[in-house]
Structures are given as structure tokens and as C-alpha cells.
């Protein structure tokens, strides 16, 4: 076997956690943010979305190294390194954030399927069955292959971009020349930029990818391919975001859009095919997000309480791990079915609570990656520290402003 072929096979074997977490990052909330951005500012912010790709890569790459070196998930690593106060804070905040985010995923899925006249109850029950069946296979690899299939479905938006025929000049100019849309830097624009940053880096992603790396059994020598996997995933996440902005920028430019399902409905009269693609993509995004988020919480609980917590275990071998997964799933799905549930308030809560968790999680990540006792030879280099600390500081400032502006909408002016 040639060296190149062997390396390709190795990469394909390692491929998984990075691609899954990055594509799942474009969850129902993410898809909504991109459609609103495209509808409001056309393609003018493509360059900003492209910049967020490397940002997501640098942050997530740290979890690959941490997981492969320590063989511990993120929750356990925080408990071990920073003690019980920060450990409980991170775990409980993660659980609450994840549960609320799961609700928003179910909201996205039911909204997408209602476009095809499928009642919410049927959508929720089907999602429970799909998500339940996925993890009951008793093998991490089987679960991963199914999740990768859902990642591939997430690319359904790409053909839509070809159908709207953007000009090459507009595409290149908006992608590679940083500029503000006509009207300049306004409060609305600032809020949307923060929303895009907020949807690119979420606390659950750190916990999910590190636990996933551990459950898959990646070790130090796999770090190189793990980084490639994450880089490949970052490219996919940017492609999906860019494509959605192109589509909505071309078809809905200037229109007021509240969410992705509304965007799909508004596009239907112009192009039934594109509207349908957006609705299917939204459902897939919500499903993928819900799968990963519920697993992130289950892994975190298992790590901290010392329960068996692997997808390679059967239900009777890891009962608490699976029980928590199903509990999370059932609870989130049920809330969506409650008539007049405060879903807008829940979406607001997600932004606020994520703001309290993201900065500590990112700071802990930097500190752990600088702890020689923990990381050994894989400790952050000076260059990695310069890049990572700069990124983390910018994310903390923007996500904090985003969280605060969600609670005090008039603080930075009218939106």
C-alpha cells in the first residue's frame, strides 16, 4: 500500500468528531441567523462569515489535543484541574444551556416540517425514534457514520446557491474585501455580527468534541489527523453559512425575515425547489444539533459521576448515560408540544445562559492547554497562545455584549 493511500485511510478512520461538531454548529439557530443576515444585508457580510471559519477551527482544535492527550472529556478535565466550584458551575450551566438549546432545535425541526403540513407531534415523535435508534446501536462507529450522513444532508443548500446565479464579481468582492453594507456600521449590524459569532462558537461544542475524541479512542499520534478533521469541518460549516447567505441575499434582499422557516415559506412562491431545500436543511440542522447537544450533556454527566459513558456500551452496561440522554430528549421535545410555551423567552435564555458559560469554558481551555503537567509535549506553543488568546478575548467581549444586548435590547440603541 502506498504511503499516500495509507495516510488517506488513516484520515478517513479519524474523520468524524471534527466534521460532526462543525456541521452541527450550523444548527437550527445558526441557520436562522444566516438567513436573517442574508435577507437583511445581502451578500455584504460574506467576508465576515469566512473569517469565522479559522476562529472556530482554532478553538475546536484545542479540544482535540486536550482529549487525545488526557483521554478525559471537558467536564472531567475542568473538575480535575479547577476543583469542584468551577466544575459544578460548568456542568450545571452546560446542562441548562444544552437543554434550552435542544428546545430551540425541536422548534426549528417542527417549524421546518410544518411547511410540509406535518404536525409537530408527528415530527417530535419521529425525531425521538431516529435519535433513540441512532445511539442504541451499541457502537460509536455506527453512530458516527449515521451522524456523518446527516452532515452530508446538511450540504443540501449548495445546489440552491447555483440556482440563484450570483455574479462572480459580487461573490469574490463580498467574500474577500472586508466592508460594511450600505448604511455603514449600525446597531442592527452590530447585533447581527455578534449573533453570527455567538452561533459559531457555542459551549456545547467544546464539551462534545473533546468527549467524542475520547469515546472514539483517538490518541496523541492521531492529533494531526484530528486537526485535519476539524479543519475540514470548519470549511464545511463556512460553506453552508456562505451558501445560505447567498441564497437569502439573492432572493430575500431587504425583506424582513424572523427565522429560517419563515425564509423558506417566503421563498416558496419564487422557487419551490429552493424553499423546499431550505426547509429540509433546517430540519436536518435541528436534528444534527439535537443529537450532538444531548450527547454532550450525557457524556459530561457520565465523566463527572464516574458512570459508564460510551456509545460503545450497551444500554444495560451504561444505564445512567442512556437514561440521561433519553430524559433530555423527551423533556426538550415535550416542551415544544406544550401549547403557548414561552419559546421566545427560551430563545432569549439560551443567549444569556450561554454567555455565562462560554467565557469560563474558553478560559479553562486556554489554561489547560498551557498546563505542562496536563499536556506534556502538546502544550500550547507561543504562536498558538497568541492566536488562541486573541480569539478567546474577542469572542468573550462579543458574546458578552450579545448576551447583554439580548436582555437590554435598547442598551446599544434600537434594533
Amino acid at each position: 500500500m502506498s504511503r499516500a493511500r495509507r495516510r488517506l485511510l488513516l484520515f478517513l478512520a479519524v474523520l468524524g468528531p471534527g466534521v460532526i461538531v462543525m456541521v452541527a454548529d450550523n444548527d437550527a439557530g445558526g441557520i436562522t441567523t444566516y438567513t436573517v443576515t442574508g435577507a437583511k444585508y445581502g451578500m455584504h457580510l460574506l467576508w465576515f462569515l469566512i473569517l469565522l471559519g479559522p476562529v472556530a477551527y482554532y478553538v475546536q482544535e484545542m479540544t482535540v489535543r486536550l482529549g487525545a492527550v488526557t483521554k478525559r472529556g471537558h467536564a472531567e478535565a475542568i473538575f480535575r484541574a479547577f476543583g469542584r466550584f468551577w466544575g459544578w458551575f460548568s456542568l450545571l450551566d452546560l446542562v441548562l444551556t444544552d437543554w434550552l438549546t435542544m428546545i430551540t432545535e425541536f422548534v426549528g425541526m417542527t417549524a421546518a416540517m410544518s411547511i410540509f403540513h406535518i404536525p409537530p407531534l408527528l415530527t417530535v415523535v419521529c425525531c425521538w425514534l431516529i435519535m433513540g435508534a441512532m445511539i442504541l446501536t451499541g457502537r460509536y462507529w455506527t453512530w458516527e457514520k449515521i451522524a456523518l450522513l446527516f452532515c452530508a444532508i446538511n450540504l443540501i443548500y449548495i445546489p440552491a446557491a447555483f440556482l440563484v446565479h450570483p455574479t462572480l464579481h459580487d461573490l469574490l468582492y463580498n467574500s474577500f474585501v472586508p466592508h460594511f453594507p450600505p448604511g455603514g456600521f449600525t446597531n442592527d449590524l452590530f447585533f447581527l455580527l455578534m449573533a453570527n459569532v455567538g452561533t459559531t462558537i457555542a459551549p456545547w461544542m467544546l464539551f462534545f468534541q473533546q468527549s467524542s475524541v475520547v469515546d472514539k479512542g483517538l490518541v496523541e499520534k492521531d492529533v494531526k489527523f484530528g486537526k485535519l478533521d476539524t479543519g475540514f469541518g470548519a470549511v464545511l460549516t463556512v460553506v453552508v453559512a456562505v451558501v445560505l447567505i447567498i441564497v437569502c441575499g439573492q432572493l430575500l434582499n431587504g425583506a424582513t425575515v424572523d427565522d429560517a422557516a419563515a425564509a423558506a415559506t417566503q421563498i416558496m412562491p419564487t422557487s419551490r425547489v429552493i424553499g423546499t431545500l431550505i426547509a429540509i436543511g433546517l430540519f436536518d440542522a435541528g436534528l444534527l444539533g439535537a443529537i450532538c447537544i444531548s450527547l454532550a450533556s450525557s457524556w459530561a454527566f457520565g465523566e463527572v459521576f464516574g458512570w459508564a459513558h460510551s456509545l460503545n456500551k450497551k444500554v444495560k452496561e451504561a444505564p445512567w448515560f442512556y437514561a440521561y440522554y433519553f430524559f433530555d430528549l423527551l423533556l426538550a421535545g415535550t416542551v415544544v408540544l406544550i401549547p403557548r410555551a414561552p419559546l421566545v423567552l427560551i430563545t432569549l435564555f439560551v443567549q444569556v445562559i450561554a454567555t455565562t458559560l462560554l467565557p469560563p469554558a474558553l478560559v479553562f481551555l486556554i489554561l489547560l492547554l498551557n498546563d505542562k503537567k496536563t499536556m506534556g509535549a502538546r502544550v500550547n506553543t507561543r504562536w498558538q497562545n497568541i492566536v488562541n488568546i486573541s480569539i478567546v478575548l474577542v469572542i468573550i467581549v462579543l458574546s458578552t455584549l450579545y448576551g447583554i444586548s439580548a436582555v437590554f435590547p435598547n442598551l446599544f440603541g434600537n434594533q
Partner: protein, 57 residues
């Protein structure tokens, strides 16, 4: 009852197991952890302020 007893025992065990932080407490680490505490206190303070002002209205 057994479930809650097991849960409390589990929490106690976690608290005992992770009582002592293992990270090397350099000046940088201390500054970061202190900054995080201040950040969280400020954020929670803002939320309480928002709650009280909304409630008074």
C-alpha cells in the same frame, strides 16, 4: 427515596474526589480565575437588576 440518596451520595463523592484543584496555580491562572469570578458576579448582578426593574414595572 433510594434514587435521591444515591444522587446525594454521588455528589458527595464527586466533591471529595475533586476537592483539590490539580492545575498548577501560577500567577496567570490566579488572575484568570479571579477575573472569571468578577465577570460572573457582574453578569449575575446585571440579570438581578433587570429582573427587579422589570418586576417593578
Amino acid at each position: 427515596m433510594n434514587f435521591f440518596k444515591a444522587l446525594i451520595d454521588g455528589v458527595r463523592e464527586v466533591n471529595r474526589k475533586y476537592a483539590k484543584p490539580e492545575v498548577e496555580t501560577t500567577l496567570f491562572v490566579r488572575i484568570c480565575l479571579l477575573s472569571l469570578r468578577i465577570y460572573l458576579i457582574a453578569l449575575v448582578g446585571l440579570m438581578i437588576f433587570k429582573f427587579i426593574t422589570t418586576w417593578k414595572k
